[in-house]
């Protein structure tokens, strides 16, 4: 168990560019255990890249990523997949496009990783899966295929799938952006419950109400950097940075 | 195994002659099969069901049977109908026949890729079907059909090797003949492979030129 002083996720001076396009221009962020941090900002501002660098789906060009005090890699540019896989087992990720495995049932989706990566016996994994699916409200869909589910249901399955690995932190990459408006609520509710249970969460989102209601802190991303961060009420109601003010007024005027 | 490429200095004329024949046959088939392919593609879309069905059946046969068999069919069969052709001509006929059907498939999907709205707009403007085809549809179909066209042209190049069966002196059989004399299989056949690669490259150049032409036309119209 980490001491209260060790952040669950700590990134320092993260840089990432795709050719001429700079996605991260020196990002520092620290997320405490049990904290929920929402990341907001315009499209293309680098928010998704930040998440992808944390679990090294895209390795950062520069900078340090610490998960529960453990550094990913040792400073060299290439980190062996073996080591990355160990870290990724502790980091859960939920994607905007759900990315469920379409050729497997919901249940199979959820037990695949625990069995293959953690070596969990199948029966145990299935029991765990049923519990998780129940907690996100899709237990009755366990034998269905993803194509038979609504977007909201698929995303909740995706959350269960990530949780099945018992990660220490959950990364959410715009989890509701691809959903029809009426389906957004059920996913946000599942995420709120997760927050209540004390999961460390880093959420990239456009849902300002969720950010205000559930987060401990809100970080505003602009042009590859976090330019303002603080308590939700401060950041969202009393923005200091001009670009944040512009961003929020654009949102509120639609 | 020691390779002695110096024998190529002696035998290259034979290989060159074979390459020339290969090139001639490829070019001839390409030039003949293309317009036939266009015609077949247009006919295949005809409104009369019998026409479409018979073309589809012949197409299925021509593409489902080994080219070598078609070659033999022309070579042995035509004399029985009173038409006696020398080897090159019968190879040319056979290859043109089956390649026309392969091209027809490419051109058909190229034509189909042009949105139906184009036909409707031209009709609404009072343009005749022929004019529509030539001025509106085909120019838009060409970029879509180009890659398939070039890959089939490459198939023609490779297919000429089969004409060796009816004693056409193309490159592959020339290489075999040279081998039979020199007993240096690797050097000879590698040389032949290089020549094929070179001829292939020529076809690729045609594709690049064609793509550039298509791009320029598109930009000119947009600008």
């Amino acid at each position: 168990m980490s001491s209260p002083l060790t952040p669950m996720v700590e990134v320092t001076n993260l840089h990432k560019a795709y050719g001429p396009i700079v996605a991260l221009a020196g990002v520092d962020l620290s997320v405490q255990p049990g904290e929920v941090v929402s990341v907001i900002g315009g499209s293309g501002s680098g928010k998704s890249t930040l998440l992808r660098c944390i679990n090294y789906l895209d390795p950062p060009d520069q900078g340090v990523v610490l998960i529960n005090g453990n550094r990913i890699g040792d400073g060299g540019p290439h980190v062996p997949e073996r080591i990355l896989r160990k870290h990724r087992a502790e980091i859960g990720m939920v994607f905007q496009s759900f990315n469920l495995f379409p050729h497997m049932t919901v249940l199979q989706n959820v037990i695949e990783a625990p069995c293959a990566v953690r070596g969990t016996p199948k029966k145990e994994a299935i029991e765990l899966a049923y519990d998780l699916l129940a907690s996100v409200g899709v237990r009755d869909k366990a034998e269905s295929f993803p194509s038979e589910l609504s977007g909201g249901q698929q995303q909740r399955v995706a959350i269960a799938r990530a949780l099945a690995m018992k990660p220490q932190v959950m990364l959410f990459d715009e989890p509701t952006s691809a959903l029809d408006p009426e389906l957004v609520g059920e996913v946000l509710n599942a995420m709120k419950q997760l927050a209540r249970e004390g999961m460390t969460m880093l959420v990239v989102t456009h849902e300002m109400d969720f950010a205000e209601e559930v987060s401990n802190r809100v970080a505003f991303f602009s042009e590859g950097k976090i330019v303002e961060v603080g308590a939700p009420k401060e950041v969202l109601r009393n923005p200091q940075h001009p670009r944040l003010q512009a961003f929020l007024s654009r949102l509120n005027s639609h | 195994m020691d390779l002695d490429f110096s024998i190529l200095l002696n035998v290259w004329p034979a290989l060159a002659a074979g390459a020339a024949t290969t090139l001639k046959l490829t070019g001839a088939v390409l030039l003949a099969a293309t317009p036939f392919g266009v015609a077949l593609a247009l006919l295949a879309n005809s409104n009369r069901p019998l026409v479409g069905a018979s073309i589809a059946s012949v197409s299925w046969v021509m593409r489902g049977v080994p080219p070598l068999l078609i070659l033999f069919f022309c070579f042995f069969g035509l004399p029985q109908l009173g038409i006696t052709l020398e080897p090159f001509a019968s190879a040319f006929l056979a290859m043109t026949a089956y390649m026309a059907f392969y091209f027809a498939e490419i051109f058909r999907s190229g034509l189909a890729s042009v949105p139906a709205g184009q036909w409707q707009a031209a009709r609404a403007l009072g343009m005749s079907p022929l004019r529509t085809l030539v001025r509106i549809i085909i120019p838009q179909a060409i970029p879509a059909a180009l890659p398939g066209f070039v890959s089939h042209a490459t198939e023609i190049l490779k297919g000429t090797a089969l004409s060796a069966a009816v004693a056409v002196p193309e490159l592959t059989s020339a290489a075999r003949r040279v081998f039979a004399v020199t007993y240096k299989p690797f050097e000879i056949f590698i040389a032949a492979a290089i020549i094929y690669a070179f001829l292939d490259g020529l076809l690729l150049c045609i594709q690049l030129i064609g793509e550039r032409w298509a791009d320029r036309r598109r930009n000119r119209r947009a600008g």
Binding site: R88 | W60, G64, P66, L68, F72, P185, F189, A193
Partner: protein
């Protein structure tokens, strides 16, 4: 000798040729599929030296006529001290060509699987090998069926090349019967029917495979 007598005299040979053709086709397909899969996976996984070597291999063989490759193997093997029977040389030649083309088919299909599946799998901590085996391949297989079936028909047609090294497959038997009896339409026609029959069987196989796969993965149409 009446036409019927002629037919009956050579029919057994044609029958044998028919089965030899089927046998050559199946043998080539069965041997080349695992190799083609391996080549595609190695290139897809971007393993440093191997991917370049394989890319060169694939592109070279796709440029050359199958007949040249066959001659290279058949006439080149003795120089390496290996005596190859004609059938063996033919199967090796056809397999090499099939692997080159098939690996491209497979590679294209692998890349057509939603790349985000790789991301999801990686994020869960699954290894590359596991991802390919359990996540990517099962999604690629339904999409692979049509191109592989097309390739199977091409392999079938390609078996006629073996006639150049005296393998008595269907085309060879038919042309031999024709040149002796001067009945091209009967024997070459029958051979054509034989090939179309095999193609028909492959088409039925494709239909059954696609239905099985759709049912197994409960995929909706247009997946």
């Amino acid at each position: 000798m009446s036409k019927l007598d002629t037919l009956l005299t050579y029919a057994p040979d044609l029958w044998q040729g028919f089965f030899l053709t089927i046998w050559l086709t199946i043998l080539t397909l069965v041997i080349s599929l695992p190799f083609a899969l391996a080549v595609a996976l190695v290139r897809d996984a971007k393993i440093p030296v191997a991917k370049t070597v394989l890319a060169v291999f694939v592109n070279i063989f796709r440029m050359l006529p199958a007949l040249l490759v066959l001659f290279f193997i058949f006439y080149g093997a003795p120089s390496l001290g290996i005596r190859l029977s004609p059938v063996t040389a033919a199967v090796i030649g056809m397999t090499v060509m099939a692997v080159a083309y098939m690996s491209e088919d497979i590679r294209g299909t692998l890349q057509s699987v939603d790349q985000r599946q790789y991301a999801a799998s990686k994020a869960l901590g699954l290894s590359y090998a596991h991802t390919i085996r359990r996540i990517i391949l099962p999604q690629a297989i339904p999409v692979l069926i049509p191109p592989l079936m097309t390739r199977a028909i091409i392999v079938m047609k390609g078996t006629s090349i073996a006639s150049f090294v005296s393998v008595a497959e269907l085309t060879a038997q038919a042309s031999r019967a024709t040149s002796i009896s001067f009945e091209p339409f009967i024997f070459l026609g029958l051979a054509g029917v034989g090939y179309l029959l095999i193609a028909g069987l492959l088409a039925i196989l494709q239909f059954a495979a696609e239905r099985h796969v759709r049912r197994r993965y409960r995929l909706k149409a247009g997946y």
